[in-house]
């Protein structure tokens, strides 16, 4: 969700006072829908029809669903068709792609989870497995969502969590009762998500039969392969062969008797935990650090986030739906991601996705909007 260019001067900029750039967001949505969502959903539907044992899970925010409704209704229809097959799971998460767990008051986080469940249940069965924004995870998060009734939670399968243990089992979480953690196999996920079209990679080109062979050599109960949906057609364009890879994957997987597809909920229902993991500090799947430093690493990011948090009180007091919605939209993790000033290769990834010239421009624009918003709240 892109912000408008917003100046401290009211006479400046083309935004007309709007915080979100509707035209741009519409353009981006339509572009990605055309390149990725529509053809990828279509392919998934075909695969589900032709392969009775094929399954897939999605994690869609409420804001994404809204944007579909607004800018690309056919995308939402195709997700609804996928849901009707009964073999597609839609994971639970926060309604907004937000950092709401990082507020010191956890009510907002819980509220956003509820909002999301409500939205998803309009076209699919709510899931018993939760995934936090950018796979943020800790003992405390697992504890909170377990109390909401969730049976599973997704986390990054990091070595410093697992030690010598494998990500290919389910684990209980320190301090929680039963909730099981599903750990993403980041190497096998990134083989598709990042490296699929990388000519420098010694496994390039990646074929479905090779990938299925890798999967069958793994030891363990399950392997969690998760990636951006934009992997298909957007991060890797159609001419890289990414859709052909996907088209052949179920056939190739079926050739191995020890492999079959499952949704996260099926896993947590059918597989027992192997051990307990202890994650006192937040982890995520972002950047090299795999922590929260992609959004809250520098002073600008921390300042912007704490100013947003401070406004939360006032927004709640105002009891005004429009203001509440704007405030929540301003909590989108991307706004903070663009302010990142890490120097190594991660910075390039941040820059690649950023609509701003620099992290400083990102911070300035965000703060200009936040200050305007503060004035607006004062007037209500």
């Amino acid at each position: 969700m892109r912000l408008s260019l917003f100046s401290m001067f009211s006479d400046n900029g083309d935004s007309g006072g709007a915080y979100f750039d509707k035209d741009l967001n519409s353009k981006i949505m339509q572009k990605v829908a055309e390149k990725c969502y529509i053809p990828a959903n279509q392919l998934m539907l075909e695969l589900l029809e032709n392969h009775p044992d094929f399954k897939i899970s999605y994690s869609l925010t409420g804001v994404f669903i809204e944007q579909c409704k607004q800018f690309a209704p056919q995308v939402l229809e195709s997700f609804a068709s996928l849901a009707k097959t009964g073999k597609v799971e839609f994971l639970s998460e926060t309604y907004y792609h937000s950092l709401s767990y990082l507020f010191s008051d956890k009510d907002e986080f819980l509220e956003q989870i509820k909002l999301h469940s409500k939205e998803i249940s309009s076209f699919a069965k709510p899931s018993k497995v939760f995934r936090n924004t950018e796979a943020m995870f800790s003992n405390d998060i697992a504890y909170l969502v377990e109390r909401l009734g969730y049976e599973g939670i997704l986390a990054e399968g990091l070595e410093h969590i697992l030690g010598w243990r494998s990500p290919n089992y389910l684990y209980t979480v320190n301090g929680c009762e039963k909730i099981k953690a599903l750990l993403r196999h980041f190497k096998l996920s990134d083989d598709i998500g990042y490296r699929f079209s990388a000519k420098w990679w010694n496994e390039h080109p990646l074929t479905a039969d090779k990938y299925a062979r890798w999967l069958s050599t793994l030891q363990g109960d399950c392997v969690n392969i998760f990636m951006d949906y934009e992997t298909f057609g957007e991060h890797h364009w159609k001419d890289t062969g990414i859709f052909e890879f996907l088209r052949h994957l179920p056939t190739e997987v079926e050739k191995h008797k020890d492999l079959r597809f499952a949704t996260p909920t099926e896993l947590v229902k059918n597989i027992g935990p192997r051990d307990d993991i202890d994650v006192p500090n937040l982890t995520s799947w972002a950047d090299m650090e795999r922590d929260t430093s992609a959004w809250l690493g520098n002073e600008m990011q921390k300042n912007a986030f704490s100013e947003l948090e401070a406004l939360g009180e006032k927004v709640k007091e105002a009891k005004h739906d429009g203001l509440m919605r704007t405030w929540r939209m301003l909590g989108n993790s991307d706004h903070f991601y663009y302010m990142c000033t890490k120097s190594l290769s991660d910075q390039d990834v941040h820059n690649y996705f950023s609509p701003y010239d620099s992290p400083f421009d990102a911070y300035i624009n965000y703060m200009n909007i936040l200050n305007d918003f503060r004035e607006k709240i004062g007037k209500v």
Binding site: E299, M300, D361, M367
Partner: protein
């Protein structure tokens, strides 16, 4: 390596980045064991060599004015009638002087800086049969909106005759290509900064004008190319929101009367302070007290001052049309014509402390990477390349 370097500025006789470049480059080259004879016009200030291995040779009596200037009445006077003669005189003195010195010193290479030295370089290359490296710190296209054909021709012949050409940025390299140079003979070698000189500078009491007011600094020649007019327009906008800000303009140049009149006409003269030309020591202090440094140049081949401000821990806003914008990440980059955006960014730096702090910290770190030692090492590589390719051609 023995180098005959032809320049026309050397501290304390400087009017811009070229003088700083020559001082720092020769210093770093000498530290690497090079022996340099630096031939320049008589400065009238009696320059003694500051580095071991460097000899300064003042060759002609004319004091050259390399930049376009205006007469006292404010009327455009171009480069002045006598410039052509003065330059020609410098060339002939330079040539005979280098030839004389080469009797005792067999030079390995000639290195000429900018067009004022280039003709002498070309002739010496032929007479001594050694390679010529020509550096462009700017081209006539950068210095004025009304390029003078006479100088363009000299610059063009410099690009044709040099063995290798050094440009101080990619954008300068592009301009040199525009002059007709073959791309494969252009090497980009960025300028550097002596960070310690600026970061360690102690700030004493800074006179009366500080008074807790936030300071936005412009430092450069007051000429169209440096964008002081845009700076004033941005100041006007900022002052509408932050009326207590002080805009300091350091430097002299033909636009001074116009700028003073402008600040009066805009009703912001109380918030604009013209310092005139300030010497090195003062410059280091003024960076230190600035809250924001703005370099709004319409065309800036490199822009050493941006690195100097960064070394002083000052957040910088620089024009996208500058060489330094190609290499630094911890700066805010604006279009020189976008007064609104420039004002917005200045205001943000004045108001958002975490922004200024983050940028200042990053700037210090980044400036440290662009040492003159680096510039000298890359320049040496160009010398060696020129010498080796001549050897293999023979």
């Amino acid at each position: 390596m023995r180098i005959a370097m032809l320049g026309w500025e050397f501290p304390p006789f400087i009017s811009g980045g070229l003088g700083v470049h020559c001082f720092e480059l020769t210093k770093a080259l000498c530290e690497k064991g090079a022996q340099i004879d630096f031939f320049m016009p008589v400065s009238g200030k009696k320059i003694s060599s500051p580095h071991k291995g460097l000899r300064i040779v003042e060759v002609a009596k004319t004091v050259l004015k390399p930049y376009m200037f205006f007469s006292k009445t404010g009327k455009r006077a171009g480069y002045g009638k006598n410039l052509v003669n003065a330059v020609k005189e410098y060339w002939s003195h330079c040539i005979s002087s280098v030839l004389a010195y080469s009797q005792e010193n067999r030079y390995d290479i000639i290195h000429a800086h900018d067009w004022l030295a280039s003709r002498a370089g070309i002739e010496l290359k032929q007479k001594l049969s050694i390679p010529l490296v020509q550096t462009f710190h700017s081209t006539e296209f950068d210095r004025t909106s009304w390029p003078w054909q006479y100088i363009l021709d000299i610059e063009r012949s410099a690009t044709e005759n040099a063995d290798l050409i050094i440009a101080v940025s990619k954008r300068t390299g592009d301009q040199v290509e525009r002059l007709g140079a073959q791309k494969q003979r252009i090497r980009v070698v960025y300028n550097g900064v002596d960070r310690e000189k600026f970061s360690s500078s102690q700030v004493e009491k800074l006179g009366s004008f500080r008074k807790k007011r936030k300071i936005v600094l412009f430092l450069g020649r007051l000429t169209e190319q440096k964008g002081p007019v845009q700076f004033l327009h941005a100041a006007k906008r900022v002052l509408a929101k932050e009326p207590d800000t002080l805009f300091v303009i350091a430097g002299k140049g033909e636009l001074l009367p116009l700028l003073i009149n402008m600040s009066l006409g805009m009703g912001i003269s109380k918030n604009v302070r013209f310092l005139g030309y300030i010497p090195d020591e003062e410059q280091r202090k003024i960076y230190k007290v600035a809250d924001v440094y703005v370099m709004p140049s319409t065309s800036e081949p490199f822009g050493i001052t941006a690195l100097e401000a960064m070394s002083s821990g000052v957040p910088v806003i620089i024009s996208k049309t500058s060489g330094v914008a190609e290499i630094v990440k911890s700066a805010i980059k604006v279009d020189f014509w976008d007064i609104n955006s420039m004002a917005d960014k200045i205001l943000a730096l004045l108001k958002y402390r975490p922004l200024a702090k983050t940028m200042a910290g990053m700037s210090l770190g980044e400036a440290g990477k662009w040492t003159w030692e680096r510039t000298a090492a890359e320049t040496l590589k160009v010398y060696e390349e020129a010498i080796n390719s001549r050897k293999s051609n023979n």
